[in-house]
Amino acid sequence: MRRLACFLIFLSLAVSTLLIGCFEDEEVVIEYWTHADVRREALEERLIGEFEKEYPHIKVERRILSSYEMIEKVPSSIEAGVGPVLFNLPSEEISSLLLSSALDPVDDSVVDTSLFIDGAFDAVTLDGMIYGIPREYTNWCLYVNKAMLDAAGLGQPRTWEDIVEIAKALSTYDGGVIERRAFDFRYPYYLNFFVPMVEQLGGSLIGPDGTYIYGDEAWAEALAFMREWGPLGSNLGSPTLVNARTIFTDEEIAMCLSGLYQEERLRDSNPSFYDSDRWEVLPFPVFEDSVASVSSASYMHYFLVNADRSAAERRAGWLLASYLTDHASEYLDEVGLLVPLRSIMEGDGVLSKPYGDVFLSELERSHPIYSGEYASEIQLLIGEAVEGVMLQGVEPEKAIASLRASVSYLFSK
């Protein structure tokens, strides 16, 4: 009898150990969707390889999509029940997923949120719960091809009026056809650059009294500026032309707006230009009659996990997100991306980058991009207002009224 009891105990222990072992070693496949960035792809390929060695039961299938595709395909795939386990989205594209309970709360056991800077989780916090890990912290400054400006005897631009003056001096035309631009905006990211321009003039997206599209005069002035900039005005640029930061690296345009990561792209695409003193980074311009010194809106990309997936997949997703975040210094060194960890933001890494001090000081002048409810829709609506004025000749006052009505309607339902 004792022998039998001992045998049964041994058997049950062996079976349970085997079962636990089986579950632990059960292979989990996680799809990780991220936006295209050549340097980051190379780094993450290596890091994911190392991660898979450390966690042999987790297999990562990475899919690279364009930024546009990420914004469109992630929500629709989640809606269809075939969304990825782990993905990243910018601050202004998260609210609809967050409010729809489509996101998994951050697994506290794998991420220490106290290591991040204040406000890092604002765009992904709902009812005290955190639903994402910030992976990139970005603000835009003005990249300038100093050589082009020097050759034309033009000084450093500080204001939007300086930008116009330089653009008029450096743009070349064949009759009415623009052949070379000097600067252009980053369409269609209107929450990033256009709303701060409105704020410089005293307006805002949401006013102190809670009204939307606050400060008609400021909005009208900013829209009139864009109309004058576009093909119906001085014809200095247009949303339909090739984006400026792409051709800046080839020295085909004098100025563009971009983040710190642009430096690494510059190094890759045009090393001799990068190594020269022919370029510099200046603060985000302001209007001459600015009432507020506001820089471009800062934003973050967040690692997010699909709440629809199994517990094992979600945990594996957070493990990968955490693993990648642990290599923040490599993201900074190799890709020029700032992970908003205190250790990174307060360390010497950023300052060791060319013009890293400009980006850091500009962050103090900036505020986070609007990431609340309907942020994505609002960005599209602002885009329609700006492009209506720039390309269709819509009067700024009419565009403002229409924009306000549309934004108000979003919130009224």
């Binding site: 809606e79 009759g175 009415g176 269609p188 339909t240 829709e377 329609e384 492009e387």
Partner: protein, 307 residues
């Protein structure tokens, strides 16, 4: 007991039914069910991702016909769709018929094959590739401005192909025309090839000129093909999406080219209002149904053609 007998016709009809069952099942699953599902969804306030849904009756239909849908009213989309359809499908039908007739006149098969391939190639290109090609062509320094300046005898004028509302609509028509003309040409060539040569030989013996033969023989005998091609082309034009979407992604304004499918896409996918988007889909379905019926009525006599 008497053995049950069936006529040959009934037997053939039975086999016909057996052969069409897979197609009917396919149609039911992939076409009929989505239509019913869209109609049911259009009666709810279903939101994407949130997956909440309440019955709201005809509220979505009232909304899309009376409100401006966040600056993009359905009325504007119907206007944009109809202008695009009329501006594209009529020239496409005429041009494809003329090209097909021209190709049929070519004596050497290899020339005909070469031209058929040339015309058809754009149809197999992906929208992304097509977009890249046309963005270069429509660039202010691109080919279209150069051609326009040459034709209009102007110099250095930017015709704003991607900027001006009217030009933008013309641009979408041109891209669509370029992309799908080859497909229609192939269909017309198939129709032309099925007209017996003996009819043309008899006409030649009777002294009919080429022009007369085309008007009096080719066109009347091609009526069934023309009816089929025109209905297909019209339906395709009413469903157009990728051309407008790629120009919008290239930075052009949405409003002038906000065709119904694009409005459905933005309302349903970007704004997550699936109920409202479904109501728009049903409206588009009804428009297509009405136009198809009218076309069939116009071409009713086409069934009488016999060789």
């Amino acid at each position: 007991m008497r053995k049950k007998t069936y006529s040959i016709e009934r037997k053939q009809a039975r086999w016909g039914l057996v052969f069409t069952i897979p197609c009917l099942i396919f149609f039911a699953v992939f076409s009929f069910y989505p239509i019913i599902n869209a109609f049911v969804t259009s009666l709810t306030n279903r939101r994407a991702i949130a997956r909440t849904s309440e019955f709201v009756g005809l509220e979505n239909y009232i909304y899309i016909f009376t409100k401006d849908n966040g600056g993009f009213p359905l009325s504007n989309s119907i206007r944009a769709t109809l202008i695009f359809t009329v501006g594209t499908f009529i020239p496409m039908i005429i041009a494809s018929l003329l090209i097909a007739t021209f190709l049929m006149q070519l004596r050497k098969d290899r020339y005909r094959g070469f031209f058929q391939l040339m015309y058809y190639t754009p149809a197999v290109l992906s929208s992304v590739v097509a977009a890249s090609i046309w963005m270069i062509i429509f660039d202010p320094r691109g080919l279209m401005n150069q051609i326009s300046n040459f034709v209009m005898r102007t110099s250095g004028v930017d015709y704003n192909w991607l900027v001006d509302s009217t030009m933008l609509q013309i641009s979408t028509m041109m891209i669509y025309f370029w992309k799908y003309i080859g497909y229609l040409v192939i269909l017309f060539i198939t129709g032309l090839a099925s007209i017996p040569n003996t009819i043309y030989e008899a006409a030649t013996v009777d002294g009919s000129s080429r022009w007369h033969t085309f008007w009096r023989i080719t066109l009347p005998l091609l009526k069934p093909t023309t009816a089929m091609v025109s209905i297909m082309a019209m339906l395709q034009c009413l469903k157009t999406f990728s051309t407008q979407y790629m120009l919008y992604q290239g930075g052009s304004s949405r409003f002038p080219i906000d065709v119904i499918t694009m409005n459905i896409y933005f309302t349903g996918i970007r704004n997550g209002r699936l109920g409202r988007a479904s109501a728009m889909s049903i409206v588009l379905f009804l428009i297509m149904l009405i136009f198809t019926y009218l076309q069939l009525r116009l071409n009713r006599s086409s069934e009488d053609v016999e060789y």
